[in-house]
């Protein structure tokens, strides 16, 4: 009796421990290894059941993918199609820039990654149900990058409505950007097209082209299907003529019979091509004639998409700028006379120094989803003053006038530029703690979007230990927000009367660090993006002494040699 009872009990325990049958995944052959790896390495974010609801998910933006709906962003396949195994493998291998998805190349070998792919596919039944392999996007007719192609792409950028979300200059500041949500109703932002190192699926023209044709499933980014193009199926010439006729109708003019016939013809061509595009998208069987109509019409779409891809590529620098260290350190340049104002073209003669930013995750509340990539800085100085130009991209312009409905707080864009209070005694002298100082205090210039022409000076001995301080020297401040970019111009005297203030000397490296707040991304107080310590220097003028010492040394050496020769000669004789 006792034994049966025990067996019964243990069976019951087992029944409880074994997952609910409806959640148990049918794992195809071999993916048990995949499951083990997934449960250990992926489930924290993507959830044990692949629903994108792991314990860390709440803190991530973009959210980890929910695999149960078959919506995959980065694919080499057409709109509405599932990804290929290789697509999934590649994403696991290289990760997704600008998100929390890391690369797994270094920690999982090829076989392991393949097993994970197999397992991930079990979360969505569509992978098993689809008999045909997903249709891949052809890259055969690639139009190589050229200035001409970029120009065509630029017009398409406006025509196709990219500007609505990505903004006029591509900084992700379009008028629709603040309201975008994904298929799960989570907030999502359009890409800043000028920072292609953050593109989730790669920055090559091919990668961008694939995002166009395939769309980014689950996101607000639409797919370029044939019928979404104006006058699809018409040649450029036909399209132009049809547009003239359409304009006439729109203006209330009457068409002649001949014109009416022509318009009807164009309508028919467009409609037939659009219908063929739908047949294709639905995977219907198509007659060779219809298929030809579709393929011919798509050539134009592909062409346009390549031009647009080239244009998007042109918006970013060739590579991510080097960080402002080593030879890229910020060197303030000497100017004689008045320093240039915010809009002065003299600034264009300088390159920016690039200070990358990361989310502040040391102190609560933390920022796990940084929205600002970097601060760019230029500087000039003259005999008495120094001027800085700070610039950073922000997709939304938030001043403290706007109160958040849910939290009642005001989220505002702001920046703080940080220096040590005391000059360093030498290169071995430790700097203050990089996040607003600690035992060693820091001196800050804080600027807020609600007071665009002023700076507040602060001293801080820690992130929650900040004090306003009296004004040092003469400050001049100007700022601007246009097309998703902040420009902040600050001018100050090099020296002040108070010895405790920041004193700037030529050729002395001064530590500098940044905190930036993006109100539109929920940044407030300690929730913000920060940099570590960098430095800048007032570049000394090339010394005039170079005209004196080198000739002098040469002369002396010569004299020495002559003298030596004489001595040797004398000895010999």
């Amino acid at each position: 009796m006792r034994i049966t009872m025990l067996t019964f009990t243990s069976l019951l325990i087992l029944a409880c421990v074994v997952p609910h049958p409806s959640y148990a995944q049918e794992t195809p052959e071999g993916s048990l290894i995949g499951k083990q790896i997934y449960d250990k390495s992926c489930a924290h974010c993507h959830g044990l059941e692949g629903r994108g609801d792991g314990s860390a998910a709440e803190n991530l933006l973009p959210r980890p993918r929910d695999f149960t709906r078959g919506l995959y962003k980065i694919r080499s396949t057409e709109s509405g199609q599932l990804p290929t195994d290789k697509d999934l493998f590649d994403i696991i291998t290289v990760g997704m820039p600008g998100t929390s998805m890391p690369e797994w190349e270094t920690s999982l070998d090829v076989k392991e990654r393949e097993e994970v792919v197999k397992y991930i596919k079990t979360f969505y039944s569509g992978f098993q149900e689809n008999e045909n392999p997903p249709r891949e996007i052809s890259l055969d007719d690639k139009i190589p990058y050229s200035q001409e192609s970029v120009e065509i792409g630029k017009d398409l950028y406006v025509e196709l409505g990219c500007v609505e979300c990505h903004g006029k200059l591509g900084r992700g500041d379009g008028t629709s950007a603040p309201t975008l949500v994904d298929a799960w109703d989570f907030k999502t932002w359009p890409a800043n097209l000028t920072e292609n190192w953050n593109f989730r699926g790669g920055s090559d023209s091919e990668d961008i082209f694939k995002r166009f044709i395939g769309g980014i499933a689950g996101s607000p980014m639409p797919a370029f299907q044939g019928d979404t193009f104006y006058h699809f199926g018409l040649t450029a010439e036909q399209s132009e003529q049809y547009a003239t006729l359409e304009k006439k109708v729109e203006d209330g003019e009457e068409l002649t019979t001949e014109e009416e016939e022509r318009a009807a013809q164009y309508f028919e061509i467009n409609d037939t091509a659009a219908t063929a595009a739908l047949d294709w998208a639905e995977g219907l069987e198509m007659s060779p004639e219809t298929l030809k109509i579709y393929n011919d019409a798509m050539k134009v779409v592909y062409e346009k998409s390549w031009h647009l891809a080239n244009y998007v590529k042109s918006l970013s620098p060739e590579k991510r700028p080097d960080f402002a260290i080593g030879k890229h350190v910020l060197r303030s340049q000497y100017l004689q006379g008045e320093l240039p104002a915010l809009t002065d073209e003299t600034w264009n003669t300088l390159d920016y120094s690039y200070y990358p930013l990361i989310g502040q995750i040391v102190v609560e509340p933390r920022q796990f989803n940084p929205s600002i990539d970097a601060v760019n800085v230029k500087s000039f100085y003259n005999d008495t003053e120094v001027a800085f130009l700070f610039s950073w991209d922000d997709k939304t312009h938030n001043t403290s006038e706007e109160e958040n409905e849910e939290t009642g707080k005001t989220y505002e864009d702001a920046i703080a530029i940080q220096f040590p209070v005391k000059p360093r005694k030498g290169p071995t002298d430790p700097k203050p703690y990089f996040i607003f100082g600690g035992r060693k205090p820091v001196y800050l210039w804080q600027w807020k979007a609600s007071a665009p022409d002023t700076l507040t000076e602060l001293t801080a001995k820690g992130i929650n230990n900040v004090e306003e301080q009296e004004v040092q020297g003469d400050f001049a401040v100007e700022s601007d927000y246009t097309d998703g970019r902040y420009m902040l111009w600050v001018k100050r005297s090099l020296k002040t009367d108070d010895k405790k203030d920041l004193q700037l000397d030529v050729a002395t490296f001064v530590p500098i660090a940044f905190s930036v707040w993006d109100g539109g991304n929920g940044d407030i107080d300690t929730k913000r993006v920060i940099s570590s310590w960098y430095s800048f220097v007032l570049e000394p003028l090339p010394s005039t002494r170079r005209f004196i010492y080198p000739p002098l040394v040469a002369l002396l050496s010569f004299g020495l040699l002559v003298g030596l020769r004489r001595i040797v000669q004398r000895r010999n004789s």
């Binding site: 019951l12 409806s22 196709l160 409505g161 769309g215 689950g218 607000p220």
Partner: protein, 259 residues
């Protein structure tokens, strides 16, 4: 011995409870699904019956939230827009409820109008708010606005840009009945509609007066279902109606806010 029995029993109960709870959660997630027959055969129906009625909202209707028009004011801001997730009219009439037959396997075919479903985006608002689309039929999106829209139906992986130049844009036909799914325009974040892909024509959407009418129903006994985007469905407890040849069945519904 008794203690052990007790323990076992408790464990058993706990286990059962756990299973019950998880099963319940699972169903909860599938709430927005209509019930479709496994197959449907269209044939001519003569002397069919009629089912009609009124759907009402129980309780005090919350005030409709005015939507914030965040862009394209010249076009979109011409008229005030309200969140249509719950539209209650005079006498508590509930608009935009789908009322339909769950288990009909043969009956009339879709009429010509039903086979050409359209959603207009005029003034940056989807009209109608709930659209029935027969399976294997393409939904047409109209854009008479001088602005760019996009049509995003994430559940069926459709996201197509419809610039101001594209006056008519068709959406892929669905081979199988499914939905209702939410339709969004991402460019104008306030725009929302619902679309259901259905296998037979016995689907009605209530009007401002909460009225619905299913006509030419072959005589027989059917399960009558409803679906509302905010108030849910009666999948668990459908109403049984008996339709006689040429007869008329009246069936009203009263829906209330879920707790």
């Amino acid at each position: 011995m008794k203690t052990k029995m007790f323990l076992t029993l408790t464990l058993f109960l706990a286990c059962g409870l756990a299973l019950f709870v998880s099963a319940d959660n699972h169903e909860e997630e599938e709430k927005n699904v209509l019930v479709f027959p496994k197959a449907y055969k269209a044939k001519s129906v003569s002397n069919g019956g009629k089912i009609n009625g009124i759907v009402k909202f129980e309780g005090e209707a919350p005030e409709m939230k005015k939507l914030e028009i965040t862009k394209d004011q010249a076009t979109c801001g011409k008229t005030d827009k309200f969140d249509e997730a719950l539209v209650v009219g005079e006498d508590n009439a509930l608009k935009n409820t789908i009322v339909y037959l769950m288990d009909i396997t043969q009956g009339k075919d879709f009429d010509a109008k039903a086979k050409k479903p359209e959603i207009d985006q005029k003034n940056c608002k989807f009209t109608p708010h709930v659209q029935i689309v027969p399976v294997k039929v393409r939904l047409t999106m109209l854009n008479g606005d001088n602005v760019t829209h996009n049509v995003n139906i994430a559940d069926i992986n459709i996201n197509k840009q419809q610039t101001r130049m594209i006056k008519r844009l068709r959406i892929n036909a669905m081979p199988k009945p499914q939905g209702p799914f939410e339709v969004k325009c991402d460019i104008h974040g306030w725009m929302r509609a619902w679309v259901a892909f259905v296998p037979h024509p016995y689907f009605a959407v209530t009007n401002e007066k909460g009225e619905f009418s299913l006509e030419n129903v072959p005589a027989g006994t059917y399960k009558l279902g409803y679906w509302h985007e905010t108030l849910g469905n009666n999948n668990k407890e459908p109403v049984t109606v008996e339709v006689t040849a040429g007869g008329e069945v009246k069936q009203d519904f009263t829906l209330k806010m879920k707790k």
